[in-house]
Amino acid sequence: MMAEPNVVLNNPDQPGVTREEDLIARVQRGQTELFYELVRPYERRVYAAALAILRNEADADDTAQEALLKALAHIRQFRAEARFSTWLIQITVNEALMRRRRERNAVMESVDERQDSESDYAPRDFADWREIPSEALERKEVRQRLAEALASLDRKYREVFVLRDMEQLNIQETAEALGISVASVKTRLLRARLMLRDLLARGWEEGWFSRLPFQKGTKPW
């Protein structure tokens, strides 16, 4: 699971104040040289958020960096009632959406939206689920397959899935970041999860996970 420094790290110098809270306060007071230390735990999530929206590694790289520099420029606007990670992700999503709007034809965008249907999605595979252990992620080809499955989702499903399940924004925050309703987030999230499940189930059939240790108590299809 991704680290949440705000929760797990204590600051030995100031009991009751986490290391992250201390860093935020110091950067806000002008010790901006500490900003990298503050955001380092969130680099991956910031990059992943940009990639989910832009689907291009170079653009995501650039946008993630720009978003973090923007966060530095506006660090005094951060309020402690929000999670710092959420604040960073929201800035990143805004940056990525703005970049996509700049680079895409507005007409194409509206056509895409019309073509997206949110009708019910029914799962297609009902065989006993064969657990894919997290250790499998050590293998590059497994990570690659999972990334491809995610990339194959329509944009609207992929974005919601990444923000909620990978970035761990809550439903409300995801809705706000993408400018959509809570109900839409829930519908898209359900569909994204079910589609990915089917894609991963097919992955077993296609041998993606064939070298994984067979777990006792489960049976292959």
């Binding site: 699971m1 991704m2 680290a3 901006t32 040289e33 900003f35 990298y36 955001v39 380092r40 680099e43 991956r44 999530r45 990059y47 992943a48 590694e57 170079a58 995501a60 790289d61 993630a64 960096q65 973090l68 520099l69 530095l72 420029a73 019910d120 029914a122 799962p123 595979d125 009902f126 065989a127 006993d128 689920w129 657990e131 894919i132 997290s134 499998a136 992620l137 050590e138 990570r143 999972l146 990334a147 995610l150 899935f161 399940d165 990978m166 761990q168 439903i171 829930k186 999230l189 359900l190 999860r193 079910l194 990915l196 499940r197 991963l200 189930a201």
Partner: protein, 229 residues
């Protein structure tokens, strides 16, 4: 596979529709209980639940995010550059043109000071000598019928209908000399901020010298005395 809805129990389709909310723990307790009951008796829906849970847990793993090579290094460098840049004064578009003007004023003041201390003789061409240190690329205003160049915004530009902008270097090459009016204003400010003396410190000899120089320099004003200490 799809159960009929009997006795208020959800069928498979209803379970699928709520399975995401089930994982989010975002259900009425009664519906959650009914779904738990359904999962106990329906292997297909149990498979859907387990698979969906597995998907969420796998993608939540940070190993799923492959960072581009050198991302951290680039970010650290950019932040450091940003921090260094923030440590320098920020110049607005308004003040951008004032920087070379302020430099010019400082230089002019220094020259006058040196003149008053070392030679005690008026310069043959004070304007021209001061012009040696003007940033050559600084945009300046010149106009027809005058041989003085000005900073943008100087109220003493004559014949404005004919004014044009050229670089300071071009102006000097064409024989223009700097306007001491626009210099003096900013020179006073700079010196006051630096805390280097005040009018109260002037002695009689300095005042007399100022008066003498003012006769020589038609654009010099009494406020310029701060610069001559």
């Amino acid at each position: 596979m799809v159960n009929d809805k009997t006795n208020g129990k959800p069928n498979c389709e209803q379970v699928w529709r709520e399975i995401s909310n089930y994982l989010e723990n975002d259900l009425e307790p009664s519906l959650r209980d009914a779904m738990d009951e359904h999962f106990r008796t329906c292997p297909a829906c149990r498979s859907v639940l387990e698979g969906t849970r597995n998907v969420v847990s796998l993608y939540r793993d940070e190993r799923m995010i492959e960072m581009p090579a050198g991302f951290s290094r680039r970010l650290e460098r950019r932040i450091a550059q940003n921090v260094r840049a923030a440590g320098r004064p920020r110049w607005s578009s308004w003040s951008a043109w004032m920087i070379p003007v302020a430099a010019l004023l400082l230089f002019a003041g220094g020259l006058r000071l040196a003149n008053s201390i070392s030679t005690r003789e008026p310069l043959k061409n004070e304007h021209a000598q001061q012009a040696h240190h003007i940033p050559p690329e600084m945009p300046v205003i010149v106009s027809a019928g005058a041989k003085v160049f000005h900073a943008a915004g100087c109220p003493f530009i004559h014949n404005k209908a004919t004014e044009r902008t050229i670089t300071a270097k071009e102006a000097m090459e064409q024989g223009y000399v700097p306007c001491l009016r626009c210099m003096r204003k900013y020179m006073d400010t700079t010196v006051a901020k630096a805390g280097s003396g005040s009018e109260d410190d002037d002695d009689e000899s300095t005042a007399a010298e100022i008066e003498k120089n003012e006769k020589h320099d038609p654009v010099a004003q009494p406020e310029a005395r701060n610069l001559r200490q």
